[in-house]
């Protein structure tokens, strides 16, 4: 037990020093010094509860993705059938219960229709995206597969995360953390942000921009009552519009979406000094826009943002340059915000804030200062008590504790984990475990001496007998820590991470390191008696 060959000592020291050194950048940062830039700088992140900032949890409705997917499918099917050679005539296109169904005018077209639909049904990936069934030889029913839907939701969330990142970057905040959580959630954490309103407004805007033709045949009384003519949809005007409270019927299909933009910027219209957003389509979008405006001169089209009509200008002449100006009773701020949203792309799904936490930065800095002071006083008291009780062994224990704290910080820094308030509870518990391990060992050595064992045997037995309880206690807590990490949510995980790391280092420093030091001392000075 007390035999430490040189190679073993070298390893133990190497592990200890590397882990402890990794803590230095964090300590430098906490005490306000700069860490040399040429050196690697793993750092423990401070949770928002300690450092101040905003935490926002966003959630998407997967049903929305499904609905959008169905709409796209309908459009694809219509254009596929219309462009087939010769054209396949279909009717009674209906979407209900998440299915798309249509009737072939001529049942002999079934095989051709099926063949044309195959690429859509099979999708581009490895999984089949839709199930195609035929009822009565003439009605084709397309049902989304579970796998296809899940992939679509997952892709939507991935691009939503990307869009969120772009928008937050546009705000110029420092070091935001944006991660997907679960199937339909995104966590956004921005340290140091005092007022999250702007951020929330920006993330709350889906920025789905659509240009759709106004259905001029709709009866105003029907529109007011919310009854749309076949093939049309009713949209309300936005709240800030002069037409707020009224609605328009627009053609459901054949519009353009503002997805293919190369740029968007806020500006002021030279004609009437109104705030506007200038957008620039890419080549493909520009061509579509030119076609739409050419074919519909002198008809009004509605500019729709997130399901609300911004304005419905008349198309006076074909717009061929690929650029357009959107007016819609903007303020300078809302025009700028829309420009940011459009530049970063539309969110493929609406995101709702379901949890929000903000901690003022003053509070964070104050907490850290007070916490460090309290820890310092506590540490000194512990050191005094340990050395007064166990003499030389107490000194070893204290040095081990010191390395223990450094190692926990160092490992957390390398693993890039975050220290939160609950994490501090974990810290307290592991330090407690380390202290207890030392106390157990030292008390046991004392006991073995009392029973009359010789020095070496007493130390050896002390470590051996105490280790059993130490390992059992730490493994038990370790198991608890792992389960807490697996099942718990945010704060509980913050606790569990520190606990799991800390139990390792506690056992390592309190049992293994001190034993190495005690063994070295015994070998060198061969004492006849122990002052313990």
């Amino acid at each position: 037990m007390l035999d430490f060959p040189t190679w073993k000592k070298a390893w133990l020291w190497a592990i200890t020093l590397i882990a402890a050194l990794a803590a230095l950048p964090s300590i430098f940062a906490a005490s306000g010094y700069d860490w040399p830039q040429t050196l690697p700088d793993p750092e423990v992140n401070l949770g928002l509860d300690l450092a101040g900032g905003s935490h926002i949890l966003l959630e998407a409705e997967p049903e929305q993705v499904a609905a959008q997917r169905l709409e796209n499918m309908e459009e694809s099917v219509r254009s596929l059938m219309a462009n087939a050679e010769p054209r396949i005539r279909i009717g009674d296109v209906a979407t209900n219960n998440g299915n798309l169904s249509f009737l072939l005018d001529d049942s002999s077209d079934l095989d051709r229709a099926r063949e044309d639909l195959m690429p859509l049904v099979n999708g581009t990936g490895l999984i089949r995206e839709w199930d195609l069934t035929v009822v009565d030889g003439q009605r084709v029913v397309l049902t989304p597969t579970q796998d296809g839907l899940e992939t679509a939701v997952s892709q939507a969330m991935e691009s939503a995360t990307e869009v969120v990142r772009k928008r937050i970057d546009a705000l110029g905040t420092r070091e935001p953390t944006i991660i997907r959580q679960g199937d339909t959630r995104i966590v956004v954490q921005v340290p140091g942000l005092q007022d999250p309103d702007q951020l929330k407004d920006l993330l709350g805007q889906t920025a789905k921009l659509e240009f759709k033709l106004v259905d001029q045949n709709a009866l105003p009384s029907n529109v007011a009552a919310g009854i749309a003519p076949p093939g049309s949809q009713i949209f309300p005007y936005v709240e800030d519009s002069p037409f707020a409270g009224t609605s328009l019927a627009v053609r459901r299909l054949g519009g353009i979406r503002g997805d293919n933009l190369t740029g968007a910027s806020a500006g002021v219209s030279p004609q009437n000094n109104e705030n506007v957003v200038n957008i620039q389509f890419d080549t493909q979008g520009g061509a579509k826009f030119a076609k739409l405006t050419t074919e519909n001169v002198n008809r009004p089209f509605a500019i729709i943002l997130d399901g609300e009509i911004l304005s419905a200008p008349n198309i006076n002449e074909p717009i061929l340059g690929g650029g357009a100006q959107i007016s819609g009773s903007f303020t300078a701020e809302s025009a700028n915000q829309l420009a940011i949203s459009l530049r970063s792309g539309a969110l493929p799904v609406d995101l709702t804030v379901i949890e929000e936490r903000t901690v003022g930065p003053d509070l964070g800095a104050d907490s850290i200062r007070k916490g460090l002071l309290a820890l310092m006083i506590g540490s000194i008291a512990v050191i005094v008590l340990m050395i007064a009780s166990y003499g030389r062994f107490g000194v070893y224990s204290t040095i081990a504790l010191f390395f223990n704290v450094l190692m926990i910080l160092g490992i957390m820094a390398v693993l890039n984990t975050t220290l939160t308030l609950p994490g501090i509870a974990g810290f307290v518990l592991t330090i407690g475990a380390a202290v207890d391990a030392n106390v157990l060992i030292n008390e046991r050595i004392r006991e073995e001496r009392k029973r009359g064992r010789r020095v070496i045997a007493a130390v050896e037995n002390g470590y051996k007998e105490a280790s059993r309880a130490i390992y059992d206690a730490n493994i038990t807590n370790f198991i608890a820590g792992v389960l807490l990490f697996l099942f718990g949510s945010g704060p509980i995980r913050g606790f569990a991470v520190v606990l799991v790391v800390g139990l390792f280092t506690s056992v390592f420093t309190a049992v293994i390191l001190t034993r190495m030091w005690v063994a070295g001392w015994l070998r060198k000075s061969r004492p006849n008696d122990l002052n313990i």
Binding site: G204, L385, V428, V439, T476
Partner: protein, 326 residues
Amino acid sequence: MKLLKLVPDDTNIKFLKVRWPFFIISVLLMIGSWGLVLTQGLNYGVDFAGGQEIRATFTQTEEAPIPELRETVSALPNVGDPVIQRFGAANEVSIRVKLPPEAESDPEYAAEMTRQITDALRDGHPDVRIDGVDSVSGKVSGEFREDAVLALLAAMLAVAIYIWIRFEWQFGAGALFALFHDVSITLGLFSLFQWEFSLQIIAAILAIIGYSLNDTIVVYDRIRENLKKYRKMHLPDLLNLSINETLARTVMTSLTLLVALLPLLFIGPESLFGLVIAITMGLFIGTYSSIYTAAPILIWLGVTSNSFVPEETEADKQERKARGQA
């Protein structure tokens, strides 16, 4: 140098002589705790109840004008019945309001509510500083509740299984009961004093469980050792001996932790107060439960030395008989 000894050598305190009264008190406390939790309930923070919490400090005022705040905030539209209480120092308050169901679908609702309340606070109190806002929807708070309960139960069960494997089933059951005891009494205290029960407190309860478990295992380890050593000893005496033998360690560890915790409690950040007070209480509850619930339960569950002595094989038996005849 004369070293400090907190506990004299060879103590022989008859801890287990009074095991019945203490155990009955423990059980009564547990029943009382659950009674409180079930009738009076816990003062759930927004983490578990959903809603919105605004924390503010009156930087130039000694004591926050809580009654006045209660009046101004209650008068605001849609606020309902706000919970306004001290939070940490005397000039710090937390204001908690519930969010109506409409808030779930209207993203602006919660933000508007915050604006309303903070404006009302700043109005007439120029020294007020908003320290933080938490807004948790009912959906998320429900998940937090489920996760917390699930995590706690899973961890406790796994721990009991490990102890059962390393020791004996009686020890696993005893440790589980002691943990249940500690959690119950902590919950009872939170219910009695109506301290705010948040996710942070769950972290504190976890720390209490961890500490209590550590303590229980140290005592159990000594019992296991003594069961092997003194096979004929009367079980209550053996438990008493084990507790006495580990007494110096128990006192020393508890005291060391206490001197580390007290500065955190008195001069540490206010935000840590709830956490630290819970851990400090847990220190006492955990030590107590290791001695008065975890240990005596072994007597009632009938632990014997045989549990740790290897079964006598046929060969051993022959040998013993042969020796006996010789």
